[in-house]
Subunit: 428 residues, 2 copies
């Protein structure tokens, strides 16, 4: 823009030098020139994008946008940080959680981001991070693409302005997840992880359906209507409960959740709760993709008490989702071989450990016990079949109020009952 | 900018209509016009600020930036959300945590923010949220003021480009905290809370000194050098441990921490960890200011295991900070009256509860027990005196590795030893 304005000034200069005639022309031109000079000053505050970076460098200079991330290698946290450029992450719902998750992954230098939303930016969204008042009226996908590409032009951005709960939207969603042009030799689908950051159960069920069909690992996130609690959950088709294995009451009862909304009433939201949930979601994404730390199967955030419940949910062998049952069968078939491989690897690692103390200065000869042993599997395959939902209660010793619609509140009997009701409804 | 460009087009039109002479003038003008038209298109993407809002409204319309926050009242979380406009929060250090904390408070509609930093924005900061590449080279205070006032022009922003660890910087810091022009009838200092978001111990000790002198409640935050853990801590002079009550090793040993930094080596950082810490910090700020939920005295975040340790630290009666000892004396003097008032209030509330069941539909007559009873105080005041540091270990039943410099790692004996060393060094 500044170059454009400079050219304009030059043109005006030459126009002036040709001196075609009267004094009023000269004064008009002077006036124009001062205007353009003023514009130039204004334009100086306009965005200038940074250039793309070929390779991630660990060099410690102020101009290196990746120095603090590559330092994770020197700190011993991540083996190969630059691998992040190979990964594709799809984010469904670019609202209070999804937009912040997208920004975090963009700043971390993720290879490719796929963004899905059909909504527009409103002033009523300004109490959460990311969107700015000047973006009001833009689609969330356009506004996000603009902001994210300014922040980090190295990230490949693909945005889809669509509703995944429509037939057409779901088909486009599925084909975009299957598309492998970014990394043609990748196994499975075209993305490494799907993050669900939507605000309704219908959309969660659509993500669940797509991921079950594609055997795609995904993470679910949510924030309560009263804005003070939230959760993230890891879903691996066949291995963990899917979203339909223990459906929330509103889903199981077959009620259209849109009919529950009342005119003139909206959910509360806070940038804090959504920022924390987005942070926990992307931190677990990084742990999963870059293989460090422990990925949480479920992590809740109760902000009133700063309490963080955890649990695990196994798949429901009577799940109403056919694709889930397929994935469960596949998982049980490969599980013995997988467990054997893990045990073999652990034994090999144990053999390679020298007989003496692990550390020469470890005078007490204390070492940390590896707790990554596979789940105990019983001899008969029928015993190995999960007999329904098993839940581990949160570790806290005090009463914890969960949001009403959370799967965790339902007891096994409730689920069984709800499933029957749901099946009956579906059979109509 | 668009208005400016429109005027320019009008001027060019009138210039053209006067038709002074040759054809090259006309063609030059046409060329200029097309340039200006192009500029107009470019300018459309330039920021347009929203206008100020007189009162916070709960009306559920897309154009209301506060509808989702005012909904906290209808949800029964906050009694009077609009009170947030009365509060002043000072944020020291506008880096990875402080900038996000400032944005969250701005989007929540805080009354007044005071920002302190002396650093400039670098491309190497782009792996954390908030700052944008086009702000590189600006001071962090200027860049933050620009972004925050665009997001929410209702917030009163005061920024101080200074280093609080210098004599001059500390004096300006102190006088800015004392300034009561925003709310002249406020008790105590001119701010309601100080948030420390700095990255070094010298600055933390400066905040500690200022807050002890002013009897100012503050919150401390920090993120580990390996980017995967962090913490927040509430410090109430006289009532909780101050930062000097159990100083980190590097502070206690009197070593200049700057000498520990090595050329070509930087700390790692992640937008996730910093986003989570900022979220937890501001959530606790909102709980403290708007009086809902429970404010955490200390909350850690170990992201590798998604573990969140909590603890409490009482003041050290042998603290090396004279102002801390003053505050401890004051606190012990008012404590019996304070506890009596709390007990009287609780008894009054218990009396006002009707004899029958609390809820008519509560057939089991179950009610939640109030756990906000004050600490047990013994009859003799000498017994009530804390006899040194008492620590509550984190609630988890597994081994937890704390960052080396955390106060929590030191045992009482270590602290005693370190304090003696520190006093000896100070005496030199």
């Amino acid at each position: 823009m500044e170059a454009e304005l400079k050219e304009m000034l030059n043109d005006l200069d030459s126009l002036k030098q040709s001196q075609p005639d009267p004094s009023n022309l000269a004064s008009s031109i002077l006036k124009l020139q001062s205007r353009v000079e003023h514009l130039t000053k204004l334009a100086k505050s306009a965005p200038v994008r940074r250039t793309k970076v070929q390779d991630m460098s660990a060099e410690v200079v102020d101009s290196n946008p990746y120095s603090r991330l590559m330092a994770l290698q020197r700190m011993g946290i991540v083996d190969n940080y630059e691998r992040i450029r190979d990964f594709s992450v799809a984010i469904v719902g670019i609202g209070g959680v999804g937009s912040v998750a997208a920004e975090m992954l963009t700043r971390c230098g993720i290879g490719r981001l796929l963004l899905y939303d059909y909504d527009k930016v409103e002033l009523a969204n300004m109490n959460r991070l990311f969107f700015r008042p000047e973006q009001v009226g833009m689609t969330k996908t356009d506004a996000a693409s603009q902001t994210l590409s300014d922040i980090n032009p190295d990230v490949v951005l693909e945005s889809f302005t669509l509703n995944i709960t429509t037939v057409q939207g779901f088909e486009t969603f599925m084909s975009s997840l299957r598309n492998k042009s970014f990394r043609p030799n990748k196994e499975g689908s075209g993305v490494d992880l799907v993050l669900s950051c939507v605000d309704n159960y219908e959309a969660r069920m659509a993500v669940n359906q797509a991921c079950n069909e594609l055997n795609q690992t995904w993470m679910e996130s949510g924030v309560s209507e009263d804005a003070v609690s939230g959760h993230i959950q890891l879903l691996i088709p066949g291995e963990t409960a899917c979203f339909a294995c223990a459906p929330p009451l509103v889903v199981a009862s077959g009620v259209d959740e849109r009919t529950l909304k009342r005119e003139g009433v909206c959910a509360a939201s806070l940038p804090t709760t959504m920022g924390v949930v987005a942070g926990l979601l992307v931190q677990n994404t990084l742990k999963l993709l870059l293989q460090f730390g422990q990925v949480s199967p479920y992590l809740g955030y109760n902000s009133l008490k700063d309490f963080f419940p955890t649990m695990e949910m196994r798949p429901n062998p009577q799940c109403s989702n056919a694709a889930c049952l397929e994935r469960q069968k596949e998982y049980l078939l490969v599980k013995p071989a997988r467990d054997a491989a893990i045990i073999a690897k652990m034994e090999a690692e144990a053999l390679s450990v020298p007989e003496g103390p692990l550390h020469t200065d470890n005078e007490w000869n204390i070492s940390v016990v590896d707790d990554s042993a596979p789940e105990r599997t019983d001899a008969t395959s029928s015993d190995a079949l999960p007999e329904g939902l098993t839940r581990e209660l949160p570790a806290a010793d005090e009463f914890q109020k969960f949001p009403a619609a959370e799967p965790a509140t339902a007891t096994f009997d409730d689920i069984e009952e709800l499933r029957k009701q749901l099946d009956a409804l579906n059979a109509d």
